[in-house]
């Protein structure tokens, strides 16, 4: 799971002026031809920086996203759901492993990424700063947040960086189980007793506003966006992803008799979804550390890092050294 193409750093394009124009042209021609970039290729520093940032955020989202769902494993109703949720959370952590490896090929160590997450320097998908007070909330994440993540990841899988594409191929395959499992769990509640229906409706009402911000605010059409798209780092605009998500999933919510808490949500004659603009001020506030769970998420990661440090050091062998992975 992952969201938010919105967190690319605003970059100074004059950085590009320091790059060798011949090499830059060759690099861009390769991407234009549809070829992937591999770790040893020459690449502009701006590309390296932005791809590290994107993959790293994706990886952080996987491990942080495991927290609001993981808390429901022991309380999931029934043995089968416990097993399925356990497997799903395990998948998410595995995705983080694959993604950290892909980012490492560009020269940032895994440990540095972990430290940047804990210090708040690196970001992760903003939706995971919201809590999961009931079982139904966890099923909404499994279904709709994973659905959003799939929209994003399918787009990214067509991107230009080879190691990221290899990781996404495997991730997308596993996500199809998450989506089906989540849908099944939501449908079960929605077609159940009055109390179950009420529970899932309330969870949906809580999660809809964060879900609407999942893909980030509308992209400003800037030279910056243009260059990330030309380099196939960003494969679709935030609005394109949001439209695709609404088109695929709003009908699925409605068909099981649930409602969404937005009176303006509708598909117009041109086939475009209209909705109430999400609260981007709140989005900004939460991203900057003031959401309901930001502190807790980072505290848990920090404790894991600190408690694991002695194990890493005890097993560290002076004759072996860390190097970046090959591909």
């Amino acid at each position: 799971m992952y969201g938010g193409g919105s967190l690319f750093e605003a970059v100074k394009l004059d950085e590009l002026q320091h790059e060798d124009p011949m090499k830059l042209a060759e690099f861009e021609a390769r991407i234009q031809r549809g070829e992937k970039i591999e770790p040893d290729d020459w690449m502009p520093e701006l590309y390296r920086k932005q791809v590290i940032r994107m993959i790293e955020q994706h990886a952080h989202s996987e491990i942080i996203g495991a927290l609001p769902e993981g808390t429901w494993i022991t309380r999931a109703p029934g043995f089968r759901r416990k097993m399925a949720l356990l497997a799903k959370v395990q998948d998410e952590v595995g995705h983080a492993q694959l993604l950290y490896s892909a980012a490492e090929t560009l020269g940032k160590t895994r440990e540095q990424m972990m430290l940047d997450l804990i210090s708040g320097k690196s970001k992760y998908s903003n939706v995971f700063n919201y809590p999961t007070p009931t079982w139904a909330d966890s099923t909404v994440i499994s279904w709709l947040i994973d659905a959003g993540a799939i929209v994003n990841q399918m787009a990214n899988a067509r991107g230009s960086y080879g190691p990221y594409c290899r990781a996404l191929e495997r991730i997308c395959a596993e996500e199809s189980f998450h989506l089906k499992y989540g849908h099944d769990a939501v449908v079960y509640l929605a077609t159940g007793s009055h109390k179950q229906r009420q529970m899932i409706q309330e969870a949906l009402n809580r999660w809809w506003p964060p879900i609407m911000t999942f893909f980030g605010p509308a992209d400003k059409i800037s030279a910056h966006t243009e260059i990330l798209m030309r380099w196939k780092v960003k494969m679709a605009t935030n609005d394109e992803c949001r439209q695709q998500f609404l088109d695929m999933y709003v009908p699925k919510v409605w068909e099981i008799g649930l409602t969404l808490p937005d009176p303006n949500l509708r598909k117009n004659e041109e086939g475009v979804w209209e909705y109430t603009e999400p609260d981007w001020e709140e989005f900004k506030q939460v991203i900057n550390g003031n959401g309901p769970c930001n502190k807790e998420r980072l505290a848990v990661r920090r404790q894991a890092e600190e408690k694991g440090a002695w194990v890493r050091r005890a097993l560290l062998k002076p004759e072996t050294t860390y190097v970046k992975p090959l591909a």
Binding site: R30, E35, K36, I37, E38, D40, D41, L67, G70, T71, M83, A87, G94, Q97, L98, S101, T109, R110, E111, L115, S119, P131, T132, P133, G162, C165, R166, A167, A173, S176, F177, K180, Y181, H183, D184, V187, Y188, A190, T191, E255, I256, G257, C293, K295, E296, A299, V300, R302, Q303, E306, R312, L315, L316, K317, T320, T321, Y322, V323, P325, A327
Partner: protein, 209 residues
């Protein structure tokens, strides 16, 4: 003061609500890097699946098994230290990297010889696949022999060379190690018959609105 949460596990952790910055490390305590190759079907070539970090080769193998075989069919794993692998530059798709390899026979001493495993990449963005084993005295010589043996295999944009002695391979007689997937059908999308439930619900609401 301890952090309080909706999550009972977090409360049990007794995490402090405020904390000082993490101390800056002079050196990262991160383990060495290993590359992992998997056999996805019986009697097919091993292919690259990704790296792991581990304190030694055996732990690397355990991590690799967890990371790369818990969800997909796997019939064997090879693990090798990243530093034991040498590789050619990458060329454009549809070009042959073999054209860049021009090692005179003179620097290829006759002995002593050891086996090297050769992996080739057919297209950028895909995975390196095992081409075969060659006998040679060192890395450049192994690459030269690989060119002779596999040079007619097109396309090829990149080659990895590694001494076979440094590759940790799962044993043939431990095959049952890998037969774990069939018990876990709940991890497959087909295990969820959502449509049946939705249709039953629709029929119910139409007949009994």
């Amino acid at each position: 003061m301890m952090l309080t949460s909706l999550d009972p596990r977090v409360n049990r952790l007794q995490v402090p609500a405020e904390w000082p910055d993490l101390p800056v490390k002079n050196q990262l305590d991160q383990w060495a890097t290993y590359e992992v190759f998997a056999q996805k079907r019986e009697n097919t070539a091993y292919a690259y699946v990704g790296p792991v970090h581990a304190p030694d080769l055996e732990v690397a193998f355990l991590f690799a098994k967890e990371q790369y075989s818990r969800r997909v069919a796997c019939f064997g794993l090879w693990v090798v230290k990243t530093q034991a692998i040498q590789h050619t530059p990458y060329v454009n798709d549809n070009e042959l990297v073999w054209g860049m390899i021009n090692i005179p026979a003179a620097i290829r001493p006759a002995e002593p010889q050891q086996p090297f495993e050769i992996f080739i990449l057919k297209k950028r963005g895909k995975a390196h696949t095992h081409a075969g084993m060659v006998m040679a005295s060192d890395y450049p010589a192994a690459l030269a022999v690989a060119k002779e043996q596999f040079g007619d295999q097109a396309p090829c944009v990149n080659v990895w060379v590694m001494p076979a002695a440094q590759v940790f391979k799962s044993a043939e007689e431990d095959k049952d190690l890998w037969l774990t997937l069939s018990e876990k059908k709940y991890r497959e999308p087909v295990a969820y018959k959502v449509l049946d439930k939705i249709n039953a619900f629709k029929t119910r609401t139409i007949s009994n609105p």
